[in-house]
């Protein structure tokens, strides 16, 4: 057993860069093992992932498109986590958020496009927040554990959306349960078209300007959590509820507030998916992005910069992963769900596995340097 070191003597880059990288490496080794027992070569898979995600321009586009989704859902999980709430309902909140985007864009199509966009973004936040406020309220006032209620709300959202798609807002001319497409003027500008405007020719990728919205949201979350009274209160409740109450901060109010903001951020995934890419609602369009947000936030240590980097990594895994599933018949996309689980395990639950040893090592070597 290594003795615990004085936390103040540990340099910031050890706990915020070295330890997470060691954990990530462990996660990748275990993931490689899974690929091996599936009967494929992990090294080849890694090469395919790197080529698929950054090897060509369209691949980069796809990577950044996935990263956009992960930034939204990662921020959503992180902000609730700062208040010690496990919002694992990002999936359902994103689903309902997408409904908001579509309804506003569809029924206000007479308005100028820029106003429609603004309304649709607000609607995504409003709908996502509405889906999160009920679990938040129940946690705050009735003590019902938010993990179970948010999971249940995912199931309920899924049932509700299938009902709406099949019976209410369905485009009857289509075979499958989807809605009508939005008019072309309302589609968010694609990266491809922006590049073409400047004279570059780029192939199709779903990357659109929602990416900038995600960057903006990251900045907003950073500002909210570390530079405002609201953020301070939420963190205080998360760190020590008793102390927060003693300081006159209401845990109930902050639990609901954190869930509302969290739901609003998850809902914004709908902007990228509905306004940016599909232009209509498909069954189960959030496709697990909500759950991936948990891994993203934990890996990024719940900080917007970390979340941004983790989103890029997961974007790589998704885009490179599809390259792998294309080339390796034994690997399905579920393998990359398992990889997410491994990453959550090592960078979340087991984050202290080697932390004492690593911190001890760095603090000691630096002490010796100071002596000599």
């Amino acid at each position: 057993m290594v003795k615990a070191v004085d936390k103040t003597k540990v340099p910031w880059w050890v706990s915020n860069a070295v330890v997470p990288l060691v954990n990530l490496t462990l996660a990748f080794i275990v993931s490689g093992l899974f690929i091996f027992i599936s009967g494929e070569n992990p090294y080849q898979a890694l090469k395919l992932i790197l080529y698929g995600s950054f090897g060509y321009l369209e691949g980069i586009g796809y990577t950044l498109y996935y990263a956009t989704n992960f930034i939204f859902t990662g921020l959503a999980f992180a902000i609730a986590f700062h208040c010690r709430l496990f919002n694992i309902g990002g999936e359902g909140q994103a689903y309902i958020g997408g409904l908001g985007v579509f309804l506003f864009a569809f029924y206000f199509s007479a308005l100028p496009v820029s106003i429609v966009w603004l309304l649709a973004i607000l609607a995504s936040m409003l709908f996502g927040a509405a889906w999160a406020i009920i679990p938040g309220y129940l946690q705050a006032y009735r003590g019902s554990h938010v993990v179970i209620t948010t999971i249940m709300f995912n199931f309920i959202a899924s049932a509700l959306m299938v009902f709406l798609l099949v019976d209410v807002i369905r485009d009857r001319r289509q075979m499958g349960p989807t809605t009508e497409a939005l008019v072309k003027e309302q589609w968010l500008p694609m990266f491809k078209n922006i590049a073409a405007y400047f004279g570059y020719k780029v192939g199709y990728s779903p990357l659109n300007i929602s990416f900038l919205l995600a960057v903006l949201a990251s900045f907003g979350v950073w500002f909210l959590i570390w530079r405002t009274k609201w953020g301070y209160e939420m963190r205080a409740v998360g760190h020590n509820t008793q102390a927060a109450i003693y300081a006159g901060i209401s845990p109930k109010k902050n639990i609901i507030l954190a869930m509302v903001i969290s739901g609003a951020l998850a809902g914004m995934l709908g902007v990228n998916e509905i306004l940016g890419v599909h232009h209509k609602i498909l069954v189960n369009f959030p496709a697990g992005y909500g759950f991936t947000g948990i891994a993203v936030a934990l890996m990024g240590r719940n900080h917007p910069i970390g979340i941004f980097l983790a989103s890029l990594l997961f974007g790589m895994l998704y885009q490179g992963g599809s390259e792998v599933t294309f080339d390796m018949p034994n690997i399905t996309r579920y393998m990359f769900v398992a990889v997410q689980g491994v990453i959550i395990l090592f960078s979340g639950a087991l984050e202290n596995l080697f932390r004492p040893q690593i911190e001890y090592f760095f603090v000691n070597t630096m002490k010796q340097k100071a002596v000599t």
Partner: protein, 323 residues
């Protein structure tokens, strides 16, 4: 006559559907009473279902499948213990990791090993469990009232169903009447007191998690080798979370948890029964709303409209010995 047949089939379905919930809720009871949160029931159930189905297929017997499922679930429980007891990591995060890992890994390995888009091969009849007809079931079925109750409700279930309902009084006895049970509850309520008495808090929690793994394995094996004859993607369908909700609603007590499990089972049985049946005065309810009944019921019950649940005192907190 028609109505009573309806009621009999509904009660029988309730018992059948509640069974995995009962196993999982009893498993969760051991973990949570010892102070370790277990949202990982869902993932462990899924793992057990996959391992039981593929084990039974490969080794040629449903019992090997069940045995392997137990080994697998105990291993996963130990992993949860390693992360959250030994390394004092966040317990909820550890559970979420196990759940997501198992959703991915079971389906990925099923695809890689059996090449059937995330299914395991359908088990042949010699490799799966079947309903058991209790003695004299046919003979007494003609007796009014008691006959159908015995032959339709009590007889004719899988062995898991009987094991589950026998387990409940056993769990009660172990948790409330034995020394192990006393220590288990003490570790969950006040670990430092237990530590002072010279009992290892960590060892107690590991023991509780081992029992937890064994019990939840039955739930998974039941899904894939009894009521179904193969494993399919995400076949646990939220049952782990429902079981946990039943446990909380049952105030961490075997008896009330059993009642809550039966309630959820009944809601699900009713849900299946109501699909496509017009309700007098309302008309046909969309099937999606009916399917959502168990989930809505869970939220409503958890919202504490039936009284507030008080969790074990030290739940979710890693025990740190003072130095």
């Amino acid at each position: 006559m028609e109505i009573s047949a309806d009621i009999i089939s509904l009660v029988s379905a309730t018992l059948r559907i509640s069974t995995p919930l009962v196993f999982a809720a009893m498993a969760g009871l051991f973990a949570e009473r010892s102070g370790v949160i277990d949202f990982g029931l869902e993932g462990k159930m899924l793992a057990a279902a996959f391992v039981a189905a593929s084990g039974a297929h490969i080794f040629g017997s449903e019992w090997y499948g069940l045995g392997l499922a137990i080994v697998c679930c105990v291993a996963l429980s130990m992993l949860h213990g390693f992360a959250s007891v030994t390394h004092k990591g966040d317990q909820v995060v550890s559970c979420v990791a196990i759940n997501i890992l198992m959703i991915g890994l079971t389906t990925a390995l099923a695809a890689a090993w059996f090449g059937q888009q995330g299914l395991t091969p359908t088990l042949t009849d010699d490799r799966r469990f079947f309903e058991i007809t209790l003695p004299f079931a046919d003979a007494v079925s003609g007796v009014p009232l008691l006959g159908p109750i015995y032959s339709e409700i009590i007889s004719g279930h899988y062995i898991f169903v009987y094991i589950a309902y026998i387990f409940v009084p056993c769990v009660y006895w172990v948790v409330f009447k034995t020394r192990f049970g006393l220590r288990l509850r003490a570790v969950g309520e006040n670990p430092s007191a237990v530590d002072t008495a010279g009992i290892s808090v960590e060892l107690m929690r590991y023991k509780a998690l081992a029992v937890n793994g064994v019990l939840v394995a039955f739930a998974g094996a039941y899904l894939s080798t009894a009521i179904n004859a193969n494993f399919f993607r995400e076949m646990s369908a939220g049952r782990g979370y429902l079981a946990l909700a039943a446990l909380i609603f049952g105030k961490w007590h075997p008896k009330t948890a059993l009642i809550a499990c039966l309630l959820f089972g009944f809601a699900d049985a009713l849900q299946i029964r109501l699909q496509g049946v017009p309700i007098p005065g309302i008309g046909l309810i969309p099937v999606q709303f009916i399917q959502a009944i168990p989930y809505v019921l869970t939220v409503v019950l958890l919202a504490g409209f039936v009284g507030k649940a008080i969790a074990p005192g030290a739940i979710g907190q890693p025990y740190i010995k003072e130095r």
